[in-house]
């Protein structure tokens, strides 16, 4: 399967799971599980930054359309997409053009760097998203609790997904 088709399928799956499964769960008013942005985390290393930004924006906008709050997720995802290359640069060896694997995964980066990568972007996403919602409604304590609890449950979800669905990626050789 080519990268494009694989990612289109992933996009649809993540959005559907987020809209029809996770958004339907009523755990607690502070604990809202989010997983859809993992789609952006999983995009290939080699993707141009402009494309990454646009994909992030579109992803967020799609989820916004379902949650009837245009702009919140779009803004957060755009930020996520903008910051992603920097985080990858920090967490991986300097010559990032020589990645052995195509996209970020525990196997490609090692568990610890991958989890740090996911954690940083998760906090960023939730912080910004909750901040935008808080600007319109809410108090400060709620805001902090919400960021922390939502980050916790999302990280839990990401780890679960990584363990349940290990992506079998081919080792990239020079011939490929």
């Amino acid at each position: 399967m080519s990268d494009v088709i694989r990612n289109i399928v992933r996009f649809a799956l993540f959005i559907l799971v987020q809209v029809y499964l996770l958004n339907q769960l009523h755990l607690h008013q502070y604990i809202i599980p989010y997983i859809y942005y993992l789609f952006i985390l999983w995009l290939p290393f080699s993707i141009p930054r402009i494309n990454l930004l646009i994909i992030g924006f579109v992803t967020g906008l799609t989820l916004d359309a379902f949650s009837m709050q245009i702009g919140v997720h779009a803004a957060a995802c755009t930020l996520l997409a903008y910051v992603r290359p920097f985080v990858i640069n920090i967490l991986t060896p300097k010559d990032s053009s020589e990645f052995n694997y195509r996209e970020p995964s525990p196997r490609a980066m090692g568990w610890t760097p991958y989890l740090v990568y996911a954690l940083i972007l998760t906090i960023l996403h939730h912080f910004y998203m909750t901040f935008l919602q808080w600007l319109q409604f809410g108090n400060f304590l709620d805001f902090i609790i919400k960021v922390v609890s939502t980050t916790g449950i999302s990280m839990l979800l990401i780890i679960t997904v990584e363990l349940l669905f290990p992506r079998r990626m081919k080792f990239r050789t020079n011939t490929a």
């Binding site: 029809y20 930054r49 402009i50 930004l53 646009i54 992030g56 924006f57 967020g60 906008l61 916004d64 359309a65 379902f66 009837m68 709050q69 245009i70 702009g71 919140v72 779009a74 803004a75 755009t78 930020l79 903008y82 935008l132 319109q136």
Partner: protein, 291 residues
């Protein structure tokens, strides 16, 4: 000028990021202010289609609960039907008992309770239906059972604390009084134990203008509330030895998929049976009659 272009090229990603960010925030702060006024219409149309697709699947899984709710509602509405009430002449009445009555002096004769079928057969010769309500819920013997679509099903013959056993119309010993809707003539229905789709109806005189497709209803002689559908006539056979027809009746209730039913209590049942037995005793054996 050249420097400007260089600057733009150097920070092109960042400028893009800012542009998209501004776009997102603009959408956020304008659209949400004019709450769902214009822009969301388009998004709504798109997501609405996907959502309704999803909902058709999702609804399927909630059909059972929804069905139950509907059945509860039907039950409460059926309890309000005027045919459930018997008007009693208050001028000549001496004893007032505790049967509930409404302010117009109409006494409730039929009380409806809803129940769920937990077990049901159609293949045996003596078919019983088990319901999830029993003596603890006020169910007693001889109460009649009507399907959720208002067609006669059977009569309660035995109760345990939480369940009750219903003698289905598809029972070779079942014999119920019914009435032809068209002429108002009474007849009886029974089952020959063969085809669960058809009952046998007797005691309709040959003088009656019976036709195929005529409706047969429950009668006041039975314990059923009158006027509920039992079946339609499927075949007419003139019995040569007697003056009556033997009618083949297509059952109105679908006994193959009974799910939700109503149990109907005739609140005057005890009084009526007592009167009937008393009369019998009085006429048959007047010497020993002392009351």
């Amino acid at each position: 000028m050249r420097n400007v272009f260089l600057f733009i090229r150097r920070y092109f990603t960042f400028i893009c990021f800012l542009a998209l960010q501004v776009a997102a925030l603009y959408l956020l702060f304008t659209y949400n202010r004019f709450h769902r006024a214009k822009g969301l219409g388009f998004a709504n149309e798109l997501t609405g289609r996907i959502n309704s697709r999803y909902k058709t699947v999702d609804d399927f899984f909630h059909l059972k609960a929804e069905n139950q709710r509907l059945h509860h509602l039907n039950d409460s509405l059926l309890n309000l039907l005027p045919s459930n009430f018997e008007k009693i002449d208050t001028a000549t009445r001496f004893v007032r008992d505790s049967i509930p009555y409404d302010t117009l002096g109409r006494y409730r004769q039929y009380l409806w309770r809803d129940a769920r079928v937990v077990y049901n057969t159609v293949t045996a010769e003596k078919n019983y239906i088990q319901l999830n309500k029993g003596a603890n819920q006020g169910i007693r013997d001889n109460m009649s059972v009507i399907n959720s679509d208002g067609s006669a099903v059977g009569v309660v013959v035995n109760v345990s604390p939480n369940f009750s056993q219903v003698m289905s119309l598809l029972h070779v010993q079942s014999k119920r009084s019914v009435v032809l809707k068209k002429s108002g003539n009474m007849g009886t229905i029974e089952w020959d134990g063969k085809d669960p789709l058809f009952l046998t109806m007797r005691n309709i005189p040959k003088s009656d203008p019976v036709q195929k497709g005529d409706t047969v209803l429950t009668s006041v002689n039975s314990n059923f509330p009158p006027g509920f559908m039992v079946g339609t006539i499927a075949d007419i056979v003139a019995d040569k030895s007697t003056n009556f027809y033997v009618l083949k009746l297509k059952t109105a209730a679908n006994f193959f998929n009974l799910q939700q039913v109503h149990i109907i209590e005739n609140l005057f049942y005890d009084e009526k049976t007592m009167l009937r037995d008393d009369t019998k005793k009085k006429i048959d054996d007047p010497k020993n009659y002392n009351r």
